[in-house]
């Protein structure tokens, strides 16, 4: 009898131990145009730290959300087998479009055939990616051409042969190309089918959201959203080119200073030749030339200054607002009328007045938070009954959020995953 009791206790202990030791299935899903390496950093960290059985594979994303979702389903079936594939404890984590692919797997499967019991979307366009709309309507192409023109005008007016060093390194080959034509943008662009699925107002995304709103309201789900520091666009491109979000920003700052240098050089030479023209009026022709060149360089410099705003408008994170600013306004002198009478109507009465700062109201374009690609609002799922369902990764852009190991601020994505996996006992997202 005593032996039977011991045996029973031992059995119960082993059973409980096995329960505790049961691995949690975690499916890591990449985004548009990416592959299984996307989540390698965190999958490896948490596979070592936690008791999880990870699935991390590559999926084709060119045919839209639903075909990609079925690839995920097939992958889960083949990796986990029949019994584990339908385990309601299965947790899926999706980056960008991967989040929508996961949500679509939930929508297209019914009852016990569902593959996941809850999910985490990471910088996912839950309400569409406005950049897809800008790509589809040609705004991105127009903005690219505009960028290339404005960056090129200065060097071309100077008659400097292209490419010269700083142009090669910092401007047309990088600024202009990176803004639109590089691999990053190409990969973002995806196929027309996928763009249609991802755009703001897409029927596919509406169907996914309606499913959560009306049918499967209570599936545990969490949004991780990222907010990048300014300049968000250069930081995202830097992450693409250099695996950190600062190097390219430094290059752009150098390019901006170089453009400003040429602008100021030409402006100052215009002043010099304006004086020297007293002796030799031919030199006033140079004044015209220098002034023209100055403005061409300034155009490129201004574009660099405005580029974050322009990019933000393409990804729909700007708003038009009225603010008060100081404007330089021409104020005529008391003898202004005499001056005009002397000079005639065509004369510009600059000498008969001065410019003063006046406080005026203007419409301006203001940037709002994003991860460099997606606005804050679309990264966060609404009408979500899961408690504490939003986590924010600070100083992260859309690309680096899947590996913040090189971030000067530290691995902030890892911290947020730790916070999620450390949720209270009994919470769906807790992993021991």
């Amino acid at each position: 009898m005593k032996k039977l009791v011991y045996t029973s206790i031992l059995f119960v202990f082993v059973f409980i131990s096995n329960l505790n030791a049961q691995q949690r299935n975690v499916i890591w899903v990449h985004g548009l145009g990416d592959d299984e390496t996307c989540w390698a950093h965190y999958e490896q960290i948490f596979s070592n730290e936690l008791n999880i059985n990870s699935l991390r594979e590559s999926y084709g994303t060119g045919n839209g959300i639903t075909p990609a979702a079925y690839q995920v389903i097939n992958s889960i079936n083949s990796h986990y087998g029949y019994t584990q594939a339908n385990n309601p404890n299965n947790l899926a984590i999706g980056h960008s479009m991967g989040g929508l692919m996961i949500r679509e797997t939930d929508r297209v499967l019914n009852g016990s055939s569902k593959k996941i019991g809850g999910y985490i979307t990471v910088t996912t366009p839950n309400y569409g990616a406005p950049i897809a709309n800008s790509l589809l309507d040609g705004s991105v192409t127009n903005a690219a051409q505009d960028a290339c023109n404005k960056i090129s005008d200065g060097p071309l007016s100077e008659l400097l042969p292209l490419p010269w060093t700083i142009v090669t390194n910092l401007t047309t080959d990088v600024l202009c190309d990176s803004f639109i034509d590089n691999d990053l943008i190409s990969s973002l662009q995806g196929s027309p089918t996928t763009n249609e699925d991802l755009k703001d107002g897409s029927p596919k995304i509406d169907a996914i959201n309606n499913y959560n709103l009306n049918i499967n309201q209570n599936i545990p789900r969490i949004s991780i959203w990222a907010e990048e520091n300014s300049p968000v666009h250069w930081r995202m491109i830097s992450s693409d080119l250099y695996d950190n979000d600062q190097t390219f920003v430094n290059y752009v700052n150098l390019a901006r200073a170089a453009y400003n240098g040429f602008y100021i050089y030409n402006t100052t030479m215009a002043i010099v030749t304006g004086v020297a023209g007293f002796w030799n009026p031919w030199l006033w022709g140079l004044t015209a030339t220098y002034t023209y060149r100055a403005t061409q360089w300034k155009k490129g410099r201004n574009w660099i200054d405005d580029s974050e705003n322009i990019w933000s408008a393409l990804i729909k994170t700007t708003r038009s607002e009225q603010i008060q600013v100081y404007e330089l306004v021409y104020v005529p002198d008391d003898d202004y009328d005499d001056c005009v009478a002397y000079a005639g109507d065509d004369y510009w009465p600059g000498d008969c007045g001065d410019w003063e700062w006046q406080w005026v109201t203007k419409w301006v374009s203001i940037n709002y938070p994003s991860d460099g690609l997606l606005p804050e609002y679309t990264q966060i799922m609404q009408d979500n009954p899961t408690p504490n369902n939003v986590y924010r990764v600070d100083s992260a852009n859309h690309l680096e959020v899947t590996d913040m190991s090189n971030s000067p601020q530290g691995d902030l994505t890892r911290i947020q995953f730790n916070n999620i996996f450390d949720r209270p006992s009994g919470d769906f997202f807790r992993i021991d």
Binding site: N250, F262, S365
Partner: protein, 291 residues
């Protein structure tokens, strides 16, 4: 006469809001000397610039509006031109209390800011606010030996006193004959002169005549009474106005440049044409000529 004061130094502080009386100095019988490190010419000034657009902002698309935010800036500039045609230029960004700050809601940029740029020869050095060198780059600033020769040629035609007087007053009336020669020889130089009345003319010629390779045409607006350049216009091959620049001078004994206004053709990302206007106020202009 002091042997050591062999440098003919024309130095002038031209304050835009404060026109000072000045004492005309005699430079007769002074010799010209310039050390190897001394600039043939140096100019320094403060420039406060405001940029805006001639457009109804409330009717623009988001992307176009993003291209036309107003801005302003203030920079302190020193340029030195040396006898070998090379230049040294210092540019310092300055904060000021009228600075326009667009209240963006994004997280701040933590990257090091370039506060000062020094270009000498073909090298540009970039410094932060504490004077730390952030980076260096090769920059192909053109050599200005032709301008140096033209400036040095001045010495052969006019006296030191005349040069001094002009630099001090920025009044070109004393050299009105040069302008008259320019107008009288216009035909043979392929310049189209048009009388605008009120002592003003326009002179139209291809920029290639002064800057080889340029395809644009320029129209100079000249005050023939005061021998002053009032403005310039630049046209492209299709005779489309690309840019209009107007110069404003102080009134009184010192007629220094006080502002430059530029209206420039500007294409919005949507392709819509507009004009960008820039006003640059020039303060504390100092002009040294050392020939």
């Amino acid at each position: 006469m002091k042997i050591k004061s062999l440098i003919i130094l024309f130095s002038l502080l031209l304050f835009s809001n404060c026109v000072k009386e000045f004492e005309e100095q005699s430079f007769e019988n002074k010799k010209t000397f310039r050390s190897a490190n001394q600039a043939l010419l140096s100019v320094s000034y403060k420039m406060t610039t405001y940029k805006d657009f001639e457009i109804d902002r409330d009717k623009l698309s988001d992307i176009d509006l993003a291209s036309v935010n107003p801005s302003n800036e203030k920079q302190i500039i020193t340029l030195k031109l040396f006898e070998n045609g090379q230049i040294r230029i210092e540019i310092e960004n300055v904060d000021f209390n009228k600075k326009i700050t667009i209240p963006h809601k994004t997280l701040p940029d933590y990257s090091p800011k370039i506060h000062k740029t020094i270009i000498q020869g073909n090298t540009a050095n970039f410094y932060d606010k504490n004077g730390n060198l952030l980076n260096s780059e090769n920059i192909p600033i053109p050599n200005n030996i032709e301008l140096v020769n033209k400036i040095k040629d001045i010495k052969n035609k006019v006296t030191d006193k005349e040069i001094n007087n002009l630099i001090l007053t920025m009044n070109g009336v004393g050299f009105i004959n040069n302008l008259n020669d320019f107008i009288n020889n216009a035909n043979q130089n392929n310049i189209i002169i048009t009388d605008q009345g009120n002592d003003m003319i326009t002179a139209r010629f291809p920029l290639s005549q002064v800057a080889p390779g340029m395809s644009e045409q320029t129209v100079l607006l000249i005050d023939t009474k005061r021998n002053k350049l009032l403005g310039t216009r630049i046209y492209n091959r299709n005779d489309e106005l690309l840019q209009s620049t107007l110069f404003a001078y102080q009134k009184g004994k010192i007629e220094a440049l006080k502002a430059v206004s530029i209206k420039q053709l500007f294409l919005l990302p949507s392709g819509t044409k507009t004009y960008m206007k820039t006003i640059s106020k020039i303060d504390d202009l100092k002009f040294n000529l050392n020939i």
